[in-house]
């Protein structure tokens, strides 16, 4: 069983950093709004970070074998296609995850 103090520390650290990142910028928001570079960064960074997060999280899915990799690729295609077609985030996520779980379970 995981050490509860380790878990409490993990939650406390995550919460503290997240809140700091959300709250601290308001202290300097006046300067931030004036800096053109910061404004341009705020428009370009989110997309790139999201794409790197997709790659990172795919790496954590267990794509060790060819069949697992194929299942993940198929689920990704379902999610992308649904999002492009219907633009319903809940549907795309639910359907992609359902395909992943169903196919992985059938692989045994």
């Amino acid at each position: 069983m995981t050490d509860p103090w380790y878990l409490v520390s993990a939650v406390a650290i995550s919460a503290a950093i997240t809140w700091t990142l959300r709250a601290a910028p308001f202290l300097v928001v006046g300067q931030l709004r004036r800096a053109a570079l910061v404004r341009e960064l705020s428009e370009q960074l989110p997309l790139g970070i999201m794409i790197i997060l997709v790659m990172y999280s795919v790496g954590g899915l267990g794509i060790s074998s060819l069949s697992e990799g194929a299942v993940t690729a198929a689920s990704l295609c379902v999610t992308v296609a649904l999002q492009l077609w219907r633009r319903n985030a809940a549907l795309s996520i639910l359907a992609g995850t359902a395909v992943q779980v169903t196919l992985l379970s059938s692989l045994g």
């Binding site: 997240t18 570079l37 790139g48 319903n88 985030a89 996520i93």
Partner: protein, 251 residues
């Protein structure tokens, strides 16, 4: 009937969502209309997160703790994976910093200046999620007021915690392991990428990100997230500076 924001729009990061033009006179009822689409879109993700928590061997109530205290969806998913392998706390801190660094930019357009009172302002910054930002940032120049903003955030928070808790209880009750539930996180990032791309149709940014991610994956698979995002941020800054020098003061 006031127009309802589309269910997916709150997930688009850089743009705001048009809010209902009419108000009912009750900040709570207005907030329900504002938050409905995003809140319902978050439910299946919360459920998947809860299932992941109990299937990783944690007690179900850790889902409730993660969801209410950390309250940053993508980080919570990553956190389950990290604590499952007993990752060092330093690695958890770096991951939190990287994954949530995008929130730094939310201060540029979130209407915190409309929220009065220290407790309300503390909660409002704590609960400044992607969804809360997306719903409120598009409201200017109209004013929402303290009560409506806080109610929007409370409704989103409650729905997220409820979904995570329900998923955790369901996951604990399931007689079998469900492999692949963690894909919900990949799907979430994929949807966010597509919507962020739709907002700007900027081709060099995704290409640069994929190259940086691939280079980091080859060089240091264990630190892929840190190295990949740092490379990408540095490359983007260099690109912006270069463009400015070449194009003068146009941007």
């Amino acid at each position: 009937m006031p127009p309802e924001p589309p269910a997916t729009a709150p997930l688009t990061l850089p743009t705001g969502v048009p809010l209902a033009a009419e108000t009912t006179g009750s900040p709570f009822r207005d907030a329900v209309v504002d938050a409905r689409g995003a809140g319902l879109a978050m439910l299946p993700i919360g459920l998947a997160f809860g299932v992941l928590v109990t299937q990783s061997g944690l007690d179900w109530w850790w889902a409730t703790v993660f969801a209410s205290v950390v309250y940053a969806g993508s980080l919570e998913f990553l956190l389950v994976g990290l604590v499952a392998v007993a990752a060092p706390l330093s690695q958890i801190a770096v991951t939190a910093l990287l994954v949530n660094s995008r929130h730094v930019f939310y201060a540029l357009s979130f209407p915190l200046h409309e929220v009065r009172g220290t407790p309300a302002r503390v909660y409002s910054t704590f609960a400044l999620t992607d969804e809360a930002y997306a719903i409120t940032a598009g409201a200017a120049p109209r004013r929402l007021g303290t009560a409506r903003i806080i109610w929007i955030q409370v409704i989103l928070h409650v729905l997220w915690v409820a979904g995570a808790t329900a998923g955790a209880l369901a996951g604990a009750a399931l007689p079998v392991q469900l492999p692949g539930v963690g894909f919900a996180l990949t799907a979430l990032f994929t949807v966010l990428s597509i919507e962020a791309f739709r907002a700007r149709h900027d081709i060099p940014t995704p290409v640069l990100a994929i190259v940086c991610g691939a280079v980091a994956m080859l060089l240091t698979p264990d630190n892929m997230l840190l190295v990949g995002t740092s490379l990408f941020a540095a490359a983007t800054i260099a690109r912006l500076l270069l463009r400015r020098r070449r194009g003068g003061s146009s941007s």
